[in-house]
Structure formats: structure tokens, C-alpha cells
């Protein structure tokens, strides 16, 4: 127990540090990489809460795919962050108020336990063969089958939208068409012409 608590604090400390790094790093690529570190640490914390599948998905989807996308976007935009940052410091009072409110709300929940609400009691101990993935699958493909289908439609829309917004066919490109290359036969390329011999003038 003690060891797990220690681990939790270690990973949380790295998480918070990396999160600060994300917003403070001058180079957006560093920010993106630090965000990867954040995701990774959150995944570990999820793991420690017995939410195995969510932790793995966080690494698989966010670190593996979404962050790659982020990096592409960061590199594609080619923005000069220093220019954008000009005048940003003027907003700090508002930011401080918002951040203070958030911290207050979270402390209220965690320390004061002031929020109350319906108590579902302590979570029952998990059975020995408990599999987070299986339980999630059961919920997702029975009770939540309808939301899962809507999620599929959203994914479909995402790929349509991405293509509509970014795909451009460049005119004048001459790509290699392997199929045609294979299908070609000698008679398409070489024409044998029979002709009478000609006399040299």
C-alpha cells in the first residue's frame, strides 16, 4: 500500500511538472513532447486505479496517434510563438482568477468533501478475475450499443471532413500506375511494320 502511494505521488509529480512544461515551453515541439509525457503518466495513474484498458488506450490512441497529429500540425503551421505570446502576460489577472476558482472547486471536492450528492457507497472489492477491458466491452456492446454506433458515425464524419478540407488533387502529376504497367504487353509498345526494302537513292 505504502509503495503504491509512493508511486502514485511520483508519477503525479512528473505529470504536474510535465503539464507545466507544456504551457511554459518556448518551442511548440517541446510542448507536444511534454504532453506525451503527461499522457504517459496519466496512463500509469489510470492503471493504478485498475482502469487497465483506459490506460492502454490512452497510450495507444493519444500517444500513438493523436500526438503524431499534433506534431504534424505544429510543424505544418510554422507559427512564430514568440509573436503570439506578445501581450499574453497582460491576461494574467483573469487567468489567475479562473485558475483560482478551479483549484478552489477541486479542493472543495477532495479535501472539504463539501459537494455531497448521492452516495453509492465504497466500491466493492474487485473479483480476482476482474478484467477492466471485458467489463467495458460488455457495457459498450450491450447497454451502450446505441452511443457506440453514433461514435462510429462521428468517426465517419471525421474522415469525410478531413478529406473535404485538406485533399487537393494537384494537376499535372504523373503517378506510376503499377496495374497498367503490369497489364501492358509487347504488342502495345512495339509495332512491327512489314515494308518492302527501299533502294538507296
Amino acid at each position: 500500500m505504502m509503495f503504491e502511494t509512493l508511486l502514485f505521488f511520483a508519477f503525479s509529480a512528473v505529470l504536474v511538472g510535465a503539464a507545466f512544461g507544456v504551457i511554459l515551453a518556448r518551442n511548440p515541439v517541446y510542448s507536444a513532447l511534454l504532453l506525451v509525457l503527461c499522457f504517459f503518466n496519466s496512463a500509469v495513474i489510470w492503471l493504478m486505479l485498475d482502469a487497465e484498458f483506459l490506460g492502454i488506450v490512452l497510450v495507444l490512441v493519444y500517444v500513438g496517434a493523436v500526438m503524431v497529429l499534433f506534431l504534424f500540425v505544429v510543424m505544418m503551421l510554422d507559427v512564430n510563438l514568440e509573436e503570439l505570446r506578445k501581450g499574453l502576460a497582460g491576461y494574467w489577472p483573469i487567468a489567475a482568477v479562473v485558475a483560482g476558482l478551479m483549484v478552489f472547486a477541486i479542493l472543495d471536492v477532495v479535501v472539504v468533501k463539501h459537494l455531497g450528492g448521492v452516495s453509492l457507497g465504497a466500491a466493492p472489492p474487485l473479483p480476482a478475475d476482474y478484467s477492466n477491458t471485458r467489463v467495458l466491452g460488455e457495457a459498450l456492446f450491450t447497454r451502450y450499443a446505441y452511443p457506440a454506433q453514433i461514435a462510429a458515425v462521428i468517426l465517419l464524419v471525421a474522415s469525410i471532413a478531413a478529406i473535404v478540407l485538406t485533399l487537393r488533387h494537384r494537376p499535372g502529376v504523373k503517378p506510376q500506375n503499377v496495374g497498367e504497367q503490369v497489364r501492358v504487353s509487347a504488342k502495345d509498345r512495339v509495332r512491327l511494320v512489314k515494308m518492302a526494302p527501299e533502294k538507296r537513292p
Binding site: F72, F141, Q149, L156, T166
Partner: protein
């Protein structure tokens, strides 16, 4: 459950220690005598023409987002496969509809030529 992950924790610890160690050794043991010339960006003897970071083509973005879409689909497949014994025919059919919607996406991507790099 968590003790199954102990090897990974040990591995992470080793990786961290090794990484830090190599860095520190390099820092202390290597000769470091920087001067202005050594620290300036090097581009075949000229002054640097432009920023080292170039703009990426928007096509990378398209590839990445299509990858994200199908990666998320995979994320739905894992729990489905593990729980198929419990969800039975209903789960199978639910996944069939789910997968067909993404087949539509795949056909669309393919016919639009989004899977080709010109």
C-alpha cells in the same frame, strides 16, 4: 493485478537511470570548450538561410487523421473481442454495424484517392 506490471516499472526505472547516467557521464567526462563559431548553426559553410524547421505538407495531416480514425476503431475492437463471450450474437451484430460504418469511411477514403500520395 498491479504486480503484473512490476517488470514494466523496473524497466522504466532502469531506463530512467541509464538515460540520466549516460547524460551525466557525457556532461562531466566529455571535453567542452564552446566558442561562438562552434555554437553557430552550420549550413555548408554559409550563414544559415532559414529556420531549421520547415513547414510540413498538409498531406501528412490527412494521413495522420485517417490513421487516428482507424486507430480509434481498433480501440473499440479490443473490449469487443474480450467480451464477445458475454455479449454474444448481439455484440457481434453491434460490431458489424460499427465496422460497416467505418468500411464506408474506408471506401470513401479509397475512392477519393486520399490513401495515395499522388
Amino acid at each position: 493485478m498491479l504486480d503484473q506490471y512490476l517488470p514494466i516499472l523496473i524497466f522504466m526505472g532502469l531506463a530512467a537511470v541509464l538515460g540520466l547516467a549516460l547524460f551525466t557521464i557525457g556532461w562531466f567526462a566529455g571535453p567542452r570548450r564552446p566558442d561562438a563559431q562552434k555554437l553557430s548553426p552550420y549550413e555548408c559553410g554559409f550563414e544559415a538561410f532559414e529556420d531549421a524547421r520547415m513547414r510540413f505538407d498538409v498531406r501528412y495531416y490527412l494521413v495522420a487523421i485517417i490513421f487516428v480514425v482507424f486507430d480509434l476503431e481498433i480501440a473499440f475492437f479490443f473490449p469487443w473481442a474480450v467480451s464477445l463471450r458475454e455479449t454474444g450474437t448481439f455484440g457481434l451484430l453491434a460490431m458489424l454495424v460499427f465496422a460497416l460504418l467505418l468500411v464506408v469511411a474506408l471506401v470513401y477514403d479509397y475512392r477519393k484517392g486520399a490513401l495515395e500520395w499522388d
